[in-house]
Subunit: 394 residues, 2 copies
C-alpha cells in the first residue's frame, strides 16, 4: 500500500482484509513490537521479576530494609496481557446493550482470550459538546454494572470534549490489563491438524441487532445484541480443556475473520460445517433479507476456541454450563495445509466438485484455507470481508 495519495476508507475499520493491510503496512511497520507481530487480540508481555523491581527501586534510592530483604529472584517473570478497543457504535443504545456495556465487554473479552484473568480497565471518553449528561450517566451506570459482572475495576480515566459537530455524541476507549498464569500460553498460531473448532453460541446477533435498530427494521422476534463478558466462561473452559490452543471473540469481520486469522497464523486449513453453526432463525432470516453472510457478521458475546480433539467434549460441556454458553457447539476441524499449491482454488470460487475440503492443496494461510461444508455436501471458501459490511458496529 503506497500511502501517498491514499486515504482512510470505511473498509479500513471493517475487521477484514483492508484493516489487516492497514495494520500490517502502517502500524506494524512503524511500531514493530514482537507483541503486535504475534497478531493476537491482547499483547502479552513480561513484567520485570521482583528482583529487577527491587533493583530499579534501589536505583531510585529506595534502599530500605524491605526492598533489600526480599529480593525474590526465583519466581518466573509475571506476564500481563493488555488490550484496547475504541467504541464508536451508533446508535449508542440498542436492544440487548449500549456502548458502555460493549466498551467493557470488548476489552475484557480480548484480555481473557489470552487466558489471562482480566483485572483492571482504563476508560477514555471523547464527548461531543451538547451531548446529554443523562445519556452519559446511563452509559457509565451500564459500564459499572458490566465491570462488576466481569469482576474488573476501572482504575483510571480521561475525558476530552470536542466542539459540536466534531464527533458523534460519545466515543469510548477502554484498555484492559490482566495477569497470565505461568502455564498458560494461548495463541492463534497454536492450531494443529486434528484440533476441533468450537463456538460458544449463536452467531450474528450483535450485528443484526445494530442493523435493525439503525434501519428501523422490525422482526416478529426482536433481535438483541449478545454483548457479554466472557472471562468466566473462558476460565471454566480452560479448566476443563487445559490444552486449548486459542480463543478469539469474533467481533468485526465475524467468524470468517477469526478463522482466517487462525489459519494464517498457524499455517493450517480449517473447515466448518455450515449446519453445525448455531444461528437464530430470525438472524438467519434477516441475513438472507439483507444479503449478509452471517459468518461475517459481528458478535460481541461469543467466543471461538480451537481445542485438541480429546478435550473437545469437556470444553463443550464447560461452555454449555456457563452463563453465556448454553448454545455452544463444535462446528469444524483443523487440517494440514500443504505448501504445494497445484490445485488451489481462487478466492471466492466454489469448490463444488468435491465434498471433501480441498484444503490439503491450499498454501498455508492463503485465502481459501478456510472452508465451509454446506448441507448439500459441497464446500465453499470462507473469506475475510474485503470492504466494509456495516460501519460503526462497535
Amino acid at each position: 500500500m503506497g500511502t501517498q495519495n491514499e486515504f482512510v476508507q470505511l473498509g479500513h475499520g471493517s475487521g477484514g482484509q483492508m484493516m489487516k493491510r492497514l495494520i500490517d503496512e502502517v502500524f506494524l511497520d512503524a511500531f514493530g513490537s514482537p507483541e503486535l507481530f504475534a497478531g493476537n487480540d491482547a499483547g502479552v508481555a513480561e513484567l520485570p521479576v521482583q528482583a529487577q523491581l527491587d533493583s530499579f527501586a534501589r536505583s531510585l534510592g529506595a534502599s530500605s530494609a524491605r526492598a533489600v530483604a526480599s529480593p525474590v529472584s526465583s519466581s518466573a517473570p509475571a506476564r500481563i496481557a493488555m488490550s484496547t478497543d475504541s467504541f464508536v457504535v451508533t446508535p449508542q443504545f440498542f436492544p440487548g446493550g449500549d456502548i458502555g456495556r460493549l466498551a467493557v465487554c470488548g476489552t475484557v473479552n480480548d484480555v481473557a482470550t489470552s487466558g489471562a484473568q482480566p483485572l483492571y480497565l482504563s476508560c477514555g471518553f471523547i464527548l461531543e459538546e451538547g451531548y446529554p449528561l443523562s445519556d452519559l450517566r446511563r452509559i457509565c451506570t451500564s459500564m459499572a454494572h458490566t465491570a462488576r459482572e466481569a469482576g474488573v475495576r476501572i482504575i483510571t480515566g480521561d475525558t476530552k470534549v470536542v466542539e459540536r459537530g466534531k464527533a458523534d455524541g460519545v466515543y469510548i476507549n477502554t484498555a484492559g490489563v490482566g495477569v497470565v498464569p505461568t502455564e498458560v500460553n494461548l495463541s492463534g498460531a497454536n492450531c494443529r491438524p486434528g484440533d476441533l473448532v468450537l463456538v460458544s453460541g449463536t452467531l450474528g446477533d450483535h450485528g443484526i441487532a445494530i442493523m435493525s435498530q439503525r434501519e428501523g427494521l422490525a422482526f416478529s422476534t426482536p433481535i438483541e445484541s449478545d454483548a457479554a463478558p466472557l472471562n468466566h466462561l473462558i476460565a471454566a473452559m480452560l479448566k476443563a480443556a487445559p490444552h486449548t490452543r486459542c480463543f478469539r471473540d469474533p467481533t468485526r469481520g465475524g467468524l470468517a475473520s477469526t478463522l482466517n486469522e487462525f489459519a494464517q497464523a498457524s499455517g493450517v486449513a480449517i473447515t466448518i460445517d455450515e449446519d453445525a453453526v448455531p444461528v437464530r432463525p430470525e438472524v438467519r432470516g434477516a441475513c438472507e433479507m439483507l444479503g449478509y453472510d452471517v459468518l461475517q457478521v459481528a458478535n460481541e458475546g461469543k467466543i471461538v476456541a480451537v481445542v485438541p480433539a480429546e478435550e473437545a467434549e469437556a470444553a463443550l460441556t464447560a461452555m454449555r454450563k456457563s452463563k453465556y454458553g448454553e448454545n455452544a457447539a463444535i462446528i469444524g476441524e483443523v487440517s494440514a495445509s500443504s505448501e504445494a499449491s497445484g490445485t488451489w482454488t481462487e478466492a471466492g470460487q466454489t469448490d463444488s466438485a468435491s465434498n471433501q475440503p480441498s484444503s490439503a492443496a491450499i498454501p498455508a494461510g492463503s485465502p481459501g484455507s478456510v472452508r465451509v461444508r454446506t448441507p448439500w455436501g459441497s464446500t465453499r471458501i470462507l473469506d475475510m470481508l474485503v470492504g466494509e459490511q456495516l460501519p460503526r458496529i462497535c
Copy 2:
C-alpha cells in the same frame, strides 16, 4: 450537578473546575473504585502475588510441575500503574510536535508520575474516512520514535473508522502500564507543610504553540511545544530525592490545576513566587496579548514535584542535569491550612494587604488555598480554570 437537562460543554474537558465536577459527579459516582478516588493521574493497583497466580493457574487445570514447584509466596504483591489519555488536538501537526508524540508523552508521563517505570502502551485510533494515510504514517513514525526515546513498547492496538464528518481526522487514545517499585508511594495527598514546590522548566510553551499555530499568529521567536517524555527525568529525581511526595504533569489547566489538586488532596496551602516561575519571554508576551494567565496554560513536557525541603536542592540538581530539565526551578512552598476560616478570602479576591500568604486561615483544599506572591509583595489567589480556555489542546 443534576444531569437532567444538562449537556456536555467544552468546559467539561478543560482540566479545570467543570471537568472536576463531571468526574466527581458522573464518573466517580458510577465507577467508584478506590484507585479513581485517589485522584492521581495514574491508577495504582496490586497484581496478585505469584502464589495467587499459581492458584488461579491450578484452578484452570494447569497443574504442571512448574506452577506447583515455585509457589513464591514471600514476595509483596507487584503493583502496576495504569493511565490513559485520548488525544484530540488540533492542528495535528504543530511546532515542536504532533498528535503522535503527544499521545506517547502524555501517557508515559502520567504513568511515570506515580513513580512507576512505564513499560507498555496500547494505542487506539479513531480515523475519519478520507484522512490521508500519509499523515497517519507520519503520526505513527512520530509515536514510534517517541516510544523508543521513552523506552516503552506499543504492544496492542485498535483501529476504528467513522464516516466523513463524524470525527475530525484522527483521535488517538493511549493507555500505559508500568510497575511501581516496592518502596515508592507517591500521591498528591502526600504534601506536608514545609515541603517545596519544583517545576522542571518553562511554563505555557505547549498551549501557546498550539494557539499560535491555530490562529496563525507569528512571533519574532517561534514558540514550540514542549511535548517530551519525562520518565527518565522523574527516575533521576526520585533517585536524588527519594522522599519526593508527588509528581504531576501540568497539562490541561496548567500549574493552577495541578497545585489546587495537590492542595485539596493533601489539605494544605501552597504559595508560589510569581518571579520564580520560569516563563519564556515570548510566551509571557503572547499570554499578555491574548489575556491568558500563563499559570493556567497547558504544558506537555513539564513536571511539578513536591519535595521535602532537605531534598529540594538535590532534586533541583537532578532535574537540571536531565535532558528536559535545564530550566528547572524551586517556585514555592507548602504550608499548613487551618480549618478555622474566619478570615478566609473569597476566591478571586486579591489579598493585597499582606505580603505573607494568608493560607493559614484558609480551609484545607478550598478555593483560595493556592496563592501567588507577586513581585510587588502582594498575593493573589490562583484558582483552577472555571470554563474552557483553549479547547483541543491535547
